[in-house]
């Protein structure tokens, strides 16, 4: 039978994708990649800055020379600055000038740029300045002109721009490749460890579903995951051994103790029927009742051990809880009525869960009978069932004496009975069986104060709509 909890493949794939991104190894890998990218960006910035600085230093020297020459020309040949500039334009190709007066109007120059502030300037076509053909960029310095105004002297910096763009290009390529490789590697790492973690969790789930001999596959890499797997496998081996031991002991005890009890009962019954001693019959009757009580306790213990050792949910079917609860309410209404109590049921339609019907019946019966047995006449016992989200909630409540808070955990254990109820019938195994059944069905049980009385609160995973119905 296919596992009804298995989602359809599309959903599973989507879930797997989500899981991949949520994985610790993926996050770590991405974090590492981000850090190394940050380093790369820093390196790029440093190289870029250092190149710029070196070039600027070289240019500054040659611009100073140009300026000195202008000054010398002015002094020697009694030229105005504008005339000196015009001469320099002719004599030094690859050098650019812009002279503007105090009113910021350009007086002379082959690269007229008005309104410059003093200091280092870089121009490229990107700045909207009309550079001569073949010139990509001009770097230079704007300085105060002697006699007012601004003088800019610049040099062809095309090679620098080319260098910068080359650096940026190379960096971009390297950075892109690095990021892509890093992301790819992160995904691969995540996928790989997801696969190995999945191998572990798949095996665990199969083991919980009942296959105790299942082991986790080793990858043979002798890495930390393989070592973890080895440890887990060793632990699983031990668990299997323990469970088998418990089963073995339970079976042995069941057989070895049952045989003498059976003999005892047979002899008592034959003796009771012996016509030679009719007066002894009541004594044999009482002895038989005692044997039956021992057998009852023994059966309950075995039953609990059997349920606790049972890990197999293979026999689970869809159980119609609404019908089951209504059936129990109807059956026990009469019993409660005979004791002067009333049983009220409030059961939602359409409740269903997966489980073993016989065990669920016994679990609910124990709870209802507990309430009936421990409550005085006039009490009200209520049985309710409803669906809350993906769970089914069952409440068995009464307004009787209740269980003190300190005892609520304890009464779920074997042979634990409240002192007050020591003298009432019962062997203290009813609730232990209930909690074993709850655990087998992956449910939760809690005992609460019903102010006054006891309220037993049970929760189970609701059967999904895809679960096939109980064939019986």
């Amino acid at each position: 039978m296919p596992d009804p909890h298995e989602a359809d493949p599309h959903e599973a794939r989507q879930r797997q994708g989500e899981r991949l991104f949520r994985m610790a190894s993926f996050r770590l890998a991405v974090l590492g990649m981000l850090l190394s990218s940050l380093g790369a960006i820093l390196t790029f910035a440093l190289i870029y800055g250092a190149t710029g600085q070196t070039v600027r230093a070289a240019l500054t020297a040659s611009i100073r020379d140009e300026r000195s020459e202008l000054m010398a020309d002015m002094r020697h040949d009694h030229l105005t600055l504008a005339q000196a500039v015009n001469r320099a334009i002719r004599s030094s190709p690859g050098t650019f000038f812009s002279l503007s007066g105090a009113d910021d109007r350009v007086i002379a120059g082959n690269l007229p740029v008005p309104g410059l502030s003093y200091g280092w300037q870089s121009f490229s076509r990107l700045d909207g300045i009309a550079l001569p053909a073949g010139i990509l960029a001009v770097d230079g310095m704007a300085m105060p002109a002697p006699g007012g105004g601004t003088l800019f002297i610049g040099k062809d910096a095309s090679w620098l721009a080319a260098l910068n763009s080359r650096i940026a290009y190379v960096f971009g390529a390297v950075f892109g490749a690095m990021t892509a490789l890093g992301l790819g590697a992160s995904l691969l790492i995540a996928h790989y460890s997801l696969q190995r973690v999945r191998a572990i969790s798949d095996a665990s789930r199969e083991i919980m579903a009942g296959d105790l001999s299942r082991r986790i596959k080793l990858y043979g890499r002798d890495d930390e995951l393989d070592r973890l797997t080895e440890d887990l496998n060793a632990m699983l081996g031990r668990i299997q051994l323990l469970v088998e031991n418990v089963r073995q002991v339970t079976n042995d005890v069941a057989h070895d103790l049952r045989s003498p009890l059976t003999r005892l009962r047979e002899r008592l019954e034959l003796a009771r029927a012996d016509p030679a001693h009719p007066a002894a019959a009541p004594a044999f009757e009482a002895a038989l009742a005692q044997v039956d009580e021992i057998v009852g306790i023994f059966d309950s213990l075995l039953r609990i051990a059997e349920i606790e050792a049972s890990v197999s949910r293979a026999g689970f079917v869809r159980v119609d809880l609404t019908a089951l609860l209504e059936f129990l309410a109807e059956s026990y209404e009469t019993v409660a009525d005979d004791r002067g109590q009333s049983l009220a049921a409030e059961i939602e339609a359409g409740l269903a869960m997966r489980g073993e019907r016989n065990l669920l019946v016994q679990m609910l019966t124990n709870l209802i009978e507990n309430a009936i047995r421990h409550c005085p006449p006039g009490s009200t016992i209520s049985l309710s069932g409803r669906r809350i989200g993906a769970e089914v909630e069952i409440l068995v409540a009464d307004d009787g004496p209740g269980v003190p808070e300190a005892e609520r955990e304890r009464v779920l254990r074997r042979f634990v009975r409240l002192d007050a109820s020591r003298h009432s019938p019962g062997n203290g195994l009813g609730l232990a069986l209930v909690s074993a059944v709850v655990a087998l069905h992956e449910g939760a049980i809690s005992l609460q104060d019903n102010t006054p009385g006891l309220r037993v609160h049970l929760r189970f995973p609701a059967a999904t709509d895809r679960t096939p119905p109980d064939p019986s």
Partner: protein, 227 residues
């Protein structure tokens, strides 16, 4: 009734033989599964009582083999193992009933009688009748002395089972298994409460009682006035 007892424990054989003989049954015994199979196949028994753990051939395989030979003599399995799976296994192998040791002789006797009769019985009728009590299984109604008696679902099932086994002793455990599908011993008077409710409805206002308590065993529904 002709009963074959397949049981390897001589003490248990003595006990069961004594108990069954007291009920007026003829008892033959076989000490292992192979002998049991041979005897069951070559004689006409009314009932086989088979222990599950037997030498040579275990009880389950023995009954499976018998059923494969189209021998449908009713079988009651006896076992020391009371696990739920075991019971289901036994019924699936072709057993008709299943008793976990230790049990009271009265329990075995009642079940033996119920099985033996079932074999002889004509297909179950739609309308069951005992004296002036009538139960219509289709319309799920009950009448006594032409008077309609309202029954709750569980009371109906209880009365139906008692009427199907009219004249026989029906034990509390049989009722729990057949009417409630309970395979454990409840700690309250579930059966007693329902029987007394049923009595109040079908017996109280009428001339003579039909549901009788059989001390130490269970109940019997019959027309016969106590002798």
């Amino acid at each position: 009734m002709n009963v074959l007892l397949v049981e390897d424990d001589p003490l248990a054989v003595d006990y069961l033989r004594a108990g069954l003989a007291a009920e007026g049954h003829e008892v033959s015994a076989a000490a292992d599964g192979r002998q049991g199979l041979l005897q069951a196949a070559s004689n006409d028994f009314d009932l086989l009582i088979v222990d599950r753990m037997l030498p040579a051939l275990d009880g389950l395989s023995m009954v499976t083999a018998l059923r494969a030979m189209r021998i449908d003599t009713p079988v009651i399995f006896l076992t020391a193992r009371g696990r739920i799976d075991d019971r289901v296994e036994g019924l699936r192998a072709g057993g008709d009933d299943y008793l976990v040791k230790p049990f009271a002789l009265a329990e075995l006797a009642a079940r033996a009688a119920a099985l033996a009769r079932r074999r002889a019985v004509i297909p179950p009728a739609t309308v069951l009748k005992v004296a002036d009590l009538e139960l219509n299984r289709l319309s799920q109604t009950a009448m006594r002395a032409q008077r309609r008696i309202p029954l709750k679902p569980r009371e109906f099932r209880l009365l139906e089972y008692l009427m199907l086994h009219a004249g026989q002793v029906v034990t509390r455990t049989m009722l729990l298994e057949q009417v409630w599908d309970f395979h454990f011993d409840p700690q309250t008077s579930l059966v007693e409460s329902h029987v007394s409710r049923l009595r109040a409805k079908i017996d109280r206002d009428f001339g003579h009682e039909l549901i009788h308590t059989v001390r130490g065993s269970g109940y019997r529904l019959c027309d016969a006035r106590p002798a």
